[in-house]
Symmetry: C2
Subunit: 341 residues, 2 copies
DNA sequence: TTGAAAGCGCTAACAC
DNA sequence: GTGTTAGCGCTTTCAA
């Protein structure tokens, strides 16, 4: 019974004493089938453990709709949980809307070798969501070659047909830095991510905006880049603090970098939140347990994924005009940056 | 050009002036094709952006091999990163071995509604990896109904044909608790996960083993269960410490629970690592930044996923006898449990 | 070295 | 309400 060959629609038809057409109709909720026949067929199909062959059904002309999530550069670890959040969000959106979901990955090399269009054709995609892409990634420039609804998470393509699922990183950074200013901090340094990431550019720009607004100088030496890496942030911050004894606050473009920065601060015998205030970005789940509570800009990756999935689904269903609002963010104030100077 | 209908093998054949048979052969590396013909056809196919239709090819009899990762109960967040690690590990193993990978999810309800076998048939799986399952999950008892290679991560099925990808949780817990004993701790409590998780049972048993070995009493009041949840661990620990003033150490079955426990400890005015030593489990990426460094049992989820994927691949390729060694673990000693009492 | 033809499992016109 | 039939795109005998 176990290793029995897979039952086909023909097997079901034979057992039920009807044509395969009738079986097809019965199982696909067509109306022109006698309710009793349908019931009988369904019962038999269940008994036989019949599952329609997707390939056959696809050949027959019934193409299942599929939303693909394409992740660039999938790493072994995802310490901030951003990729996971997006993934589970898209996945749940697809479940809720009863549309198939598939996960795909790519990397820089593959992007130069296989055109994006081929990827879409091979997987028979109906909709596509991009995550983890950088500004200079090849696929980002092939978006007009594919004629299915697309969404990009955390990057501004600003193409008419593409759904940009982003939050206002510039404004968020501005709010964070302004908060530091309001608390009396005057020498605020920036620990940014790599400038190939769109969010880094925006957060850097929000940082400068806040300083300028407050009439504070924007000094190049106070802006370092640590590629979203904890260890590198530690080293860069260490250098920074060695060279510049005035620094009384740090705005970091991610919580993970804030971690490295805090380590450098404490190693120097200073206390995070006192001599030097620190604000991170993301609000990773453990942020509240770090350095007396890490002040940070919370964003919701799960929701980003979910909204992207939902919007793509709607576009697939013909609602050409759906857009995704800017994602929310929230400055979460904790011990690392509560204190006034 | 963009929205042109997808090219079929027939289109390529026509353009090349050969039969579709020849195109098929040329593109599938058959030897009975004139090298020049092959080259010409390949070139034309590329130009036309031709991608074989998977459904058609599957109907034709060429079934692509696919390894599925089935995740039970996919949550919006994965704070420990375990699910992500497994996922990326399996994914990379598949890439390295050039076999297709698909992600699937399920939950308790679906498990009671759709037989596992149907899932496999529908996705045409060649191999299957389970993650996130609990001892009483229905699918775990349907493993013999499917006739493809299977692996289970972090749960002992102990079925002959199933690859159990686990580490020796009992021994690891024993080692952790023994370390506490060696450092003079005599009143060690346990903050465990839910007992529907296999790993909880094993870690609990390792805890008792170590106590017994040291001639220390095993007291039921000192064993609480917090379902791998930080908040619940906080509450349970708070209760525990209120009732039992002797406790001088805590062994927690996850870092996340250790976090909650530490919070309860510090709230009581005690210092983690001094009055009360704490050991967690997992070694999440931020563990070294928590409470002066969280002592913990490191495990490598990425590697688990990778090994599971690789082993399943090998079984698919006919190596019936491949097994997966016990996964490694390592007691990582940091501030939260370094000090002798 | 090439091609004609059969068939994989299914759906959808259309006829009954 | 049910069945007949013609494909969908591809692979694979087998004959040329």
């Amino acid at each position: 019974m176990d290793s029995m060959e897979r039952a086909t629609i023909r097997d079901v038809a034979k057992k039920a004493g009807v044509s395969i057409t009738t079986v097809s109709k019965a199982l696909n909720d067509y109306t022109d089938v006698n309710p009793e026949t349908r019931k009988r067929i369904q019962e038999i199909a269940r008994q036989m453990n019949y599952v329609p062959n997707v390939a056959g059904r696809s050949m027959g002309g019934r193409v299942d709709k599929v939303i693909g999530l394409l992740i660039n550069d999938l790493r072994p670890m995802d310490p901030s949980g951003s990729v996971y959040g997006i993934l589970s969000g898209v996945c749940h959106a697809c479940q809720d809307n009863n549309i198939e979901f598939i996960l795909m990955t790519t990397d820089g090399k593959q992007q130069t070798q296989r055109p994006l269009k081929m990827l879409c054709l091979r997987k028979q995609l109906t909709g596509l969501i991009f995550a983890g892409f950088r500004l200079n990634d090849p696929y980002l420039h092939q978006l007009d070659e594919i004629d299915i609804p697309c969404a990009c998470i955390d990057i501004r393509t600003e193409k008419a047909d593409v759904l940009d699922v982003t939050m206002d990183n510039e404004r968020a950074a501005h709010e964070a830095v302004s908060f530091l200013v309001k608390n009396g901090r005057r020498n605020i340094a920036l620990v940014n991510g790599g400038l190939d990431a769109d969010v880094s550019i925006l957060r850097g720009s929000g940082y400068r905006w806040a300083l300028e607004e407050a009439g504070l100088p924007v000094r190049a030496e106070r802006m370092v880049s640590a590629n979203f890496d904890t260890q590198m942030a530690y080293e860069k911050t260490k250098q920074l603090l060695a060279q510049d004894h005035q620094v009384d606050a740090l705005f970091c473009a991610s919580d993970l970098m804030a971690l490295g920065a805090c380590q450098a601060i404490e190693e120097k015998g200073l206390t995070v939140g006192k001599e030097i205030a620190v604000i991170g970005f993301d609000d990773i789940p453990v942020a509240r347990y770090l350095y007396g509570g890490l002040t940070t800009v919370r964003q919701d990756f799960y929701l980003m994924g979910y909204m992207a999935g939902k919007a793509i689904y709607q576009r697939i269903e013909g609602k050409e005009d759906v857009q995704v609002d800017n994602m929310m963010y929230e400055l979460v104030i904790r011990g690392s940056a509560r204190g006034k100077l």
